[in-house]
Amino acid sequence: MEQFIIDVKKRSNIIIYVIFMILAFVTLTKAYEITISIDEGHFIDHAEIEEYDNKEYISIDDVVRVFRMVKYWHPNNQKLVLEYEKYSIEMIIDNTQIIVEKDNNKKIIEINDPPLIINGKIMVPMTFVYNNIASMAGKKILWDQKTKTLKVNKFVYNITNLRAQTYKNFTRIAIDIAKEMEYRIEKQISTRLSVIIPGGIADTLKCKSEINDALIKEIISFQNKDDAVIYIDFKDKASTYKSFLLTNPYRIVIDISGGEGIKVKNEKYETTLPVVKAKDFNTTSIQVKEVKEVKEEKQKISSISGGKQEETNKKISIIVLDPGHGGKDPGAIGPSGLKEKDVVLKIAKELKNLLVKHLGTRVILTREGDYFVSLEGRTHTANFNHADLFISIHTNASFKARSQGFEVFYFAAGMNIDPYALAVVMKENSVMQMEEKKSLQMSDIDIIVYDILQTEYVKESKNFAAIAQRALDQKLDNRNRGIKQGPFFVLRNARMPSVLVEASFITNRKDEENLKSNEYISKIARALYDSVIKYKKDVER
């Protein structure tokens, strides 16, 4: 035991000696040792920093060790490849462009300073560690000059999410923040808005958007020392913005509008909410007290706008078809193993061909192959492309194999309203009203209210559902189960007439046999094609 204590003493002497030597070395060579504290001091490591051209460089071997990367060095072409969790980073000596690959997506990133070979050692700039590796690692890296300690800690994000939503004449960006925070908005260049949040730590993977709508190209966020910075890139430099902070939960809301001359689009106003009868639908509904408020709001809008029902020249030129499920989600499975995801893709593709070939409409599928698409993603495709009609295609299932036939659903407005979302929107509205009382455009409130209630398109959705049900009845020798309403996820946020078709019961042996045959698939596609023609005629009349 005493032996051991002496050992330790000896060892610490050696360490002190070594540190002394290193210190001496540092003063001579402008290189110095730093301490690296990982995850609040859970691990302690040391590395050497060298200054080159007044910039701090660190040996790649230290970086590899600290972050547990795998390094490949190709001396012939001076190429360095780092493998780090899901990332692969390719760097070339003296080159500021690096290639970052994740999930088979390659991205070229420009870094501030190039990697260098100094005294035979591969060195990378510290800025690369702070900025690039930190964000890949989900770590916050802080440099404490006094103690020469590099603190590598897990991010505790206080800017957690960013949502961008396209509305008819503006785009709303909501930034979720963990607490009340100061922020400022700068327009350093004409097409870019910089939102600077001092003390903010943004989850840069979530705080971005490739929205690419009529007003905004994209939104990115990054860390600039102690500030979180969000860049909002405009398409038109004349775009204007207004912003406000909302509480509970805290969020910064920024509305981007087009430059002058962008007029309010035609909106239909209805003085009353459509009464929804849940007669045909066997799930249930919820009555929310906010509905009354919205109703009043809408009546107010209507009275201001004179309650006119403007008929517009509507066109059915873009149709989004949504083959249900896909990828890891097979949907319902038939008794002999037929998968819903395969059947509905076939129907959608055939319907697309018919529409494109004979009707000349633009048709977009929410998925073109066998891969997973989220439910939000499906509606987003339709909203983003400003589709005039959204058809979600499914095959039905029951617990016992007996149910047969086809049915078409449309959204049940007034059912299952999200009181929270409604309250949030109403709140955002009232703030907007207070701040922008004079310039507030009627449509702003109106659009948002409609987005939540989904009432605007119910009449048209029901019309299309009825047409489709009749067409299916004509083409298919199967049981007609009628049109029904329900709080369907994909129909809920669609900002256009939308239906969900349950073409037949894949769980029924007979229906499954039918769904296996190309003839039957063609019949379904043909019936839906006929209904689009009929509906188009009705609408464009």
């Binding site: 035991m1 849940a278 007669k279 045909d280 639908f281 066997n282 799930t283 249930t284 509904s285 919820i286 009555q287 249900g324 499920h325 989600d329 949907g331 319902a332 499975i333 819903e340 439910l375 499914h394 095959t395 039905n396 299932a397 029951s398 617990f399 016992k400 007996r402 149910s403 049915e407 659903f409 299952n416 309203i417 999200d418 009181p419 189960r481 029904k484 329900g486 709080p487 369907f488 996820f489 809920r492 969900l500 349950e502 019961f505 894949i506 769980t507």
Partner: protein, 191 residues
């Protein structure tokens, strides 16, 4: 100090520490258990309680109506425990030939609680993973659960379905279940 003696001392100290920790843990367990029993760790029912009848709502293969069946449950002191018994019976499935089950195989009731008229019913992941899919089956599952709870227990005004303790988007990709459900649809009495 002799090395072995030191080790022996260390050993005794360790034993003492372990005993203290184990004791503290036992006391803690005992305390928390007592605490729970004050609220809801009653067994769901005891067999010497009064028996009452409730109505279960099952699916129908022929239409979107529900087929009702009667079941006996114990009239427990807490009505939430009656509701739990009802859901367990619903999970067991129907007796009627024409009625179809509504809860997927292997689904377990994780928890059910009622707060100010809002019922939160938490199922194991099988309710989603083993679900046959389809709008029809999904509607049947939701409708049966909601009807069984609301129609039998007057203190339940709406029902929020949870899976593994969380609010999820849908059970099988169709019906939005992020919000609570209320009210009911037509019922066909085939009992």
């Amino acid at each position: 100090m002799d090395f072995e003696e030191m080790m022996k001392n260390k050993f005794t100290i360790s034993i003492v520490i372990i005993i203290i920790i184990a004791g503290a843990f036992a006391v803690y367990k005992f305390m928390t258990k007592r605490d729970e029993s004050k609220t809801d760790s009653y067994p769901i029912y005891t067999k010497n309680e009064e028996i009452i009848n409730i109505t279960l709502y099952f699916g129908s293969e022929d239409s979107d109506e529900f087929i009702i069946e009667s079941r006996e449950i114990y009239k427990t002191k807490l009505s939430v425990n009656q509701a739990k018994q009802a859901i367990l019976k619903l999970i067991e499935g129907p007796n009627n030939e024409n009625a179809s089950p509504v809860i997927p195989k292997d689904t377990k009731l994780r928890e059910l609680y009622v707060e100010n008229g809002h019922a939160y019913i938490d199922f194991s992941k099988e309710i989603s993973e083993n679900h046959p899919g389809g709008s029809k089956a999904e509607s049947a599952t939701i409708g049966s659960i909601v009807n069984t709870l609301i129609k039998n227990f007057s203190d339940i005004k709406d029902v929020q379905i949870l899976v593994e303790g969380k609010v999820i988007d849908t059970l099988a990709g169709h019906i939005d279940i992020r919000q609570p459900f209320k009210e009911t649809a037509e019922i066909k009495n085939k009992d």
